[in-house]
Each structure stands twice: as structure tokens, then as C-alpha cells.
Symmetry: C3
Subunit: 138 residues, 3 copies
């Protein structure tokens, strides 16, 4: 059984961390899949997916780490070529990755108690994003 | 065909790198799946999954890199709010990610010769961990 | 429906970024799968997979970020033990991860317009690489 669904969301960018957990829970329910996996993927090259304990402290700390790895105001060849100023966004997104798979058990994503599924939008402006969810199983 | 199984393990934390390879090999065998994939997922927000050549040098080097990206003793907002001192653990886990999928061929995970499947426990204390494995295929 | 195929490629290493997009598109077509996912995995512990906007600026910027996280000429315990000088390659590969899954819709990988599937070869010499693709769906 395969169920594909697109989640659409408006983001603000600047390493915004957006909670997808309830949306994922709802679409897994709609899929009718009881046992299997839900795969999430963000098309585009300036956002990524992961899980995190979604409280303001962790969000600030995660942002600080990305600032260490790919500082917003470092030199980026991408900026020189394209002038859109989001070189840091591309690097951060490629490091985090666009893909995440979560097990489904008893019709629900099997997450830890304080573990949320999040999209991190690294772009330097707001975007209309979509996340493609594919639930597979029985 | 879908086979879900939970691996349980006691970890020590502090960016401990734990070999899951034999456990994964065994559960793929038990699943009866010959061709497909095995998906691994760690519930919780202070551990992650990846592959590495598991020799003490690489383990030390990987720890040093995490110390560069999210130093244990940097300032973490999470620590100020919650007082549990594991802000660095949350950041490292979110960067590495909780999810890994490995192909299954001829009833075994298809890994490189010196490539092990590992859980990295970033917490600042020992934990009872589980890793959820989902084998899908035929 | 499950279709496994190996892509073989010659790489140069040194954090070379190799475009796999057309190869993935072709093998998804050959698989006959219209709806589902394509999972990619690189056996070995000195290469990884992700997506990126594949233009020379982003490639240079991504390399610079890996140099920040795991500098080529830092001290690596792996190098002292094994003398092969690719300690930085192991660390970079473990951080990026060997696994990527992309949704398949209407018989094609569902990627963003400027989003390419890439292998990053971190080794310090050229290699014969294979990437294992598993297309699952209907």
C-alpha cells in the first residue's frame, strides 16, 4: 500500500524550524497504513529535514551550530555568481539533507516522547514550501 | 513483506559509537526478506545513526569533529532553560539525524567491507536505547 | 514491486561532487515503478550522498564547509594508526551519511527544479564507486 501526499506550508526562512509532527501524524492516519514507514522529502535546495526536541532553547542552539558550520556572512562563491545572497542556505541544506524516514506502528509515526519532525528552512527569505510524504506498508 | 523489530541496548552516552551491524544482519535474516531495504530509526532526540569504519581512530576523529561543530562546553540556551546540561547532545543528534536505510540483497544488508552501522549516543549520561528496524521487501 | 540496480562510477575524490540525477532518472524509468520511492546507498566509508544545486559556486562553498568541520590537515587518529592519510574523509562521510531516499511520482524522481542528487567522494584518491539504487512501489 502506497499513499503519497503533499504538505504545503509558508515559511519565513533564516533557519526557521517548523514543526511537521501533527501534519505527519494526520496524513499517516489518512493513509490507512498501520505498519510500515513514512518517508518525507523537501524538494528544493535551501531546506532540510530532521528531528529535534522542539523547545526554543534547542532551536536557538541548532541555529548557533549552523552559524558555526556555515556562517551567514562568510564568503560564498554562490553569492558572487548569482547575487541572491543565500550561499549559506545551500550549504546548510546540503549538510542536513532533504530526506527523513520514520517508522509507522499501529497507524502512527513511532517517535520519541520529546522528538518532533521538523523542516528547517535555511533560505534568506520566506518561501512557499511543500514536503512530499510517502507512506508505505500494510 | 514488512518485518518490524526493536533492538534494545544500554549506552554510556558522551558521543559513544555503538556497533549495530551484527544485530541488523541477524534481524534481516529473521525477517525472511531477501531483496529490499532495512530502515533504522532511533526514537529520542539525543542520538543519531550513520555508518563508519569502526576502528578506534575513526571513532576519536568523529568525536573531535562533533566537538568542533557543537562543543560540549559552549553556551546552550537549552541548558539554561532545562538545567540538564545536554544542549550539545540535542544539537549533535539533530545534525546527524535519527534515520538510516540500507539495501538488502540476498537476505543481508549490503554494506562496504569496512563499513559498520552505528548508533551515536550524544547524551551526557547512560541510557536504555531502542532502535526500530523495519525490513521491507520480498 | 522492487527493482535494484547498481550505478558504477569512477571518481577523483578530494570532496568531488558527482551528479547522479540523470542516472537515477533513467533507472527509475527502467524499473517500471510509477509511484513509490528510490533509495540510494553508497557502500564504503569515505563517500556520502545528498542533494544540492549543482553549480560551481555551491560546490566550492560545500567544500569550504567540510574543510571547516573536518579540516584536511588537522590531526586524525585514523592516520596515525593506518597511515593512509584519509582520516578527514572518514569523518566527512560519517557526518553526511551514505543514504538518501527520493519520492517517485509518475515514474520520475520528484526533485526541485535546481536540486540534483549527488555523491560526494571524500577520499584522498580516485576510486571505483558503486551506488546501490532500490526502487520500491507500484
Amino acid at each position: 500500500m502506497i499513499h503519497r501526499e503533499e504538505m504545503t506550508l509558508k515559511t519565513k526562512g533564516e533557519t526557521q524550524v517548523v514543526d511537521l509532527t501533527e501534519g505527519v501524524r494526520a496524513l499517516v492516519r489518512r493513509s490507512g497504513v498501520r505498519e510500515g514507514t513514512v518517508h518525507l522529502f523537501v524538494p528544493g535546495s535551501t531546506a532540510g529535514l530532521t528531528t529535534v526536541e522542539l523547545e526554543p532553547g534547542c532551536v536557538a542552539d541548532l541555529r548557533a551550530a549552523f552559524e558555526r558550520v556555515a556562517p551567514r556572512n562568510a564568503h560564498y562563491d554562490h553569492n558572487e555568481r548569482w547575487g541572491d545572497g543565500n550561499g549559506f542556505s545551500h550549504v546548510r541544506a546540503a549538510l542536513l539533507g532533504p530526506s527523513l524516514t520514520v517508522p509507522v506502528a499501529d497507524g502512527a509515526p513511532l517517535l520519541g516522547t520529546w522528538q518532533q519532525v521538523v523542516l528547517v528552512d535555511f533560505d534568506n527569505r520566506g518561501r512557499d514550501r511543500k514536503v512530499v510524504a510517502t507512506v508505505m506498508g500494510e
